[in-house]
Amino acid sequence: MTFLRDTYVVFARALRLSLRNPAWVVIGLTQPILYLLLFGPLLKPLAGQLGGDPWRVFVPGMLVQLGIFGGMFVGFGLIAEYRAGVIESMRVTPASRVSLLLGRVLRDVLVLLVQATLLTLVALPLGLRAPVAGVIVALLAVGLLGAAFSAVSYAVALTLKSEDALAPLLNAVAIPLLLLSGILLPMALAPLWLRRLSDVNPLKHVVDGLRTLFRGDLWSSAAILGLSMTVLLVVLGTWFGTRTFRRESA
């Protein structure tokens, strides 16, 4: 009960601060829309190779990208709060340590779901046609993916406590993760060695799963594998995050 209340207080405070300074929300949203508008049209001639509607291939990729980046960079905000003494002052209250993390992660998930929904809606007039049920499940998966990355980002930020250390680390992780996930183009187009390499990247399976969902195959093995991977990432991410937030010296 107090855990839920604490989580809500942290969530509401974080959301209020986001809404008051929406620059990041807007930038986070315009980037995938720019991809849709400026990169999407390049895929049209590739429709044959992609096996059908290029938007059903491209939009799920953009959603996963939004989930990864929307979650991954939230740690910077936490470092700013830490510097201002906010984290410390919350830690001397009886509030649950996990609430301090979870409230913020939930804010990020909410922001992400709004962005992901808008992104999908913008893709409709461009030519996206996909079954509603599949899209809704895909959006929820993006929310979970964002939660995983957000929890990890906060935990890493709280450990490093320095933007100068966090920025290179995130970039070093993000780019290979992105390239090996088939977000921009499906890995089916890749040579065998690259495809094998991408198989070890759980995000590749998430992207494949989301593409299957956008085709409406809710019960296909690819969809189930992708969703399982998402759940696994969320479990690992929140475990790592809560462990860090519970640690006394963090």
């Binding site: 107090t2 209340r5 604490d6 207080v9 942290v10 509401a12 405070r13 209020r16 601060l17 008051r20 300074n21 700013a80 709060e81 510097r83 201002a84 003494g85 906010v86 410390e88 002052s89 919350m90 830690r91 001397v92 209250t93 009886p94 509030a95 006394e248 010296s249």
Partner: protein
């Protein structure tokens, strides 16, 4: 209010273990204002972070506000207020909202939180600042807001970490007033750290002097000043011919130490300078010495610190990183 025995904290680093706090014993009574005095890196903040549950001690035990530090940290958190050096509010956030959210993390209902918050704003001279972003507040206002954050749960024990560092003299004097009223009007116990001697002197009932991770002395400001170094007496003699007799007379007094002479100025220390003065003047008169001036200087806490540690409080410690906030 606080009982600590053998409280210690070791940090692990690549160069080996660093003993930030080497085993602190301390007792703080109800309604006492106790100052924790020491140079940067002496272990003040580390000790404070242990007592406020932010840092787990590597050894020792403590009871804070009636709760055991190790077994009931949540109980400690409920009963204490902590005003850290680094602030407590987000620059973009509004002052009143930060205060109310902070209260709600203690389980205080919004309505009650607003009522208490408004009252604290009134008492801490923050009128009309409720809806202001905290980045627009002055240093003194922000520090008073931090204190309001620390008081919102009506704590019986308030920890203040270097409350006046970085404030202008006027804001400092104003803040001292507020710290005194914590005890005088609210009946709280106050435990503060400072590296300002005048602050410890002006504010504290009792002072604990910490150096290099251990407590090296404790007492009231007067006790510390009296017990350790005594008052300085400075005698000026114009006629060099009178100097030997002057020195002889001074040496004959009871309890004189640190006697020196330089260019007709004779200095020495004596436990109670004011009480010695009449006898000294009579003895000098009898010896035919006519001093041009006599001055008695009460020792400052700086003298105390110097005599305890051999270093001035203003000196940087040997390793400035030891005991610093991790």
């Amino acid at each position: 209010m606080i009982t600590a025995r053998g409280l210690a904290r070791t940090y692990r680093s690549r160069r080996g273990d660093i003993l930030a706090v080497r085993g602190v014993d301390l007792d703080v009574a109800d309604r006492e204002i106790v100052g924790f005095l020491g140079p940067n890196g002496a272990g003040k903040t580390t000790t404070l972070r242990m007592l406020t549950t932010l840092l787990e001690p590597t050894a020792g035990e403590a009871t804070v506000a009636g709760c055991d530090l190790r077994t009931d940290p949540v109980g400690v958190r409920r009963r204490i207020g902590y005003v850290s050096q680094s602030g407590s509010t987000y620059p973009e956030a509004r002052a009143g909202e930060e205060l109310v959210d902070h209260a709600r993390l203690y389980g205080i209902r919004t309505q009650e939180a607003v009522r208490r918050g408004r009252e604290l704003f009134e008492r801490l001279d923050l009128p009309g600042l409720w809806d202001r972003q905290t980045k627009t507040l002055s240093g003194g206002q922000r520090r008073r807001l931090d204190i309001a954050m620390g008081l919102i749960n009506e704590p019986v024990l308030v920890f203040l970490d270097e409350p006046t560092t970085g404030l202008d003299p006027q804001s400092r004097a104003n803040l001292w007033q507020h710290v005194r009223s914590l005890r005088d009007d609210r009946g709280s116990t106050v435990f503060l750290t400072t590296h300002y001697l005048d602050e410890a002197d002006a504010l504290c009932d009792r002072i604990l002097v910490i150096d290099d991770g251990r407590i090296v002395a404790e007492g009231t400001p007067d006790e510390l000043k009296r017990g350790v170094s005594g008052d300085a007496v400075i005698l000026t003699v114009a006629d060099p011919a009178q100097l030997p007799r002057t020195i002889g007379t001074v040496s004959g007094l009871v309890g004189v130490s640190d006697q020196s002479e330089d260019g007709g100025v004779v200095r020495f220390r004596v436990p109670d300078g004011a009480a010695v003065l009449p006898a000294l003047l009579r003895a000098l008169d009898a010896a035919g010495v006519a001093p041009t001036s006599v001055e008695v200087r009460r020792p400052s806490l700086d003298d105390v610190f110097l005599s305890l540690t051999g270093r001035s409080l203003r000196d940087e410690p040997a390793d400035a990183t030891v005991g610093a906030t991790p």
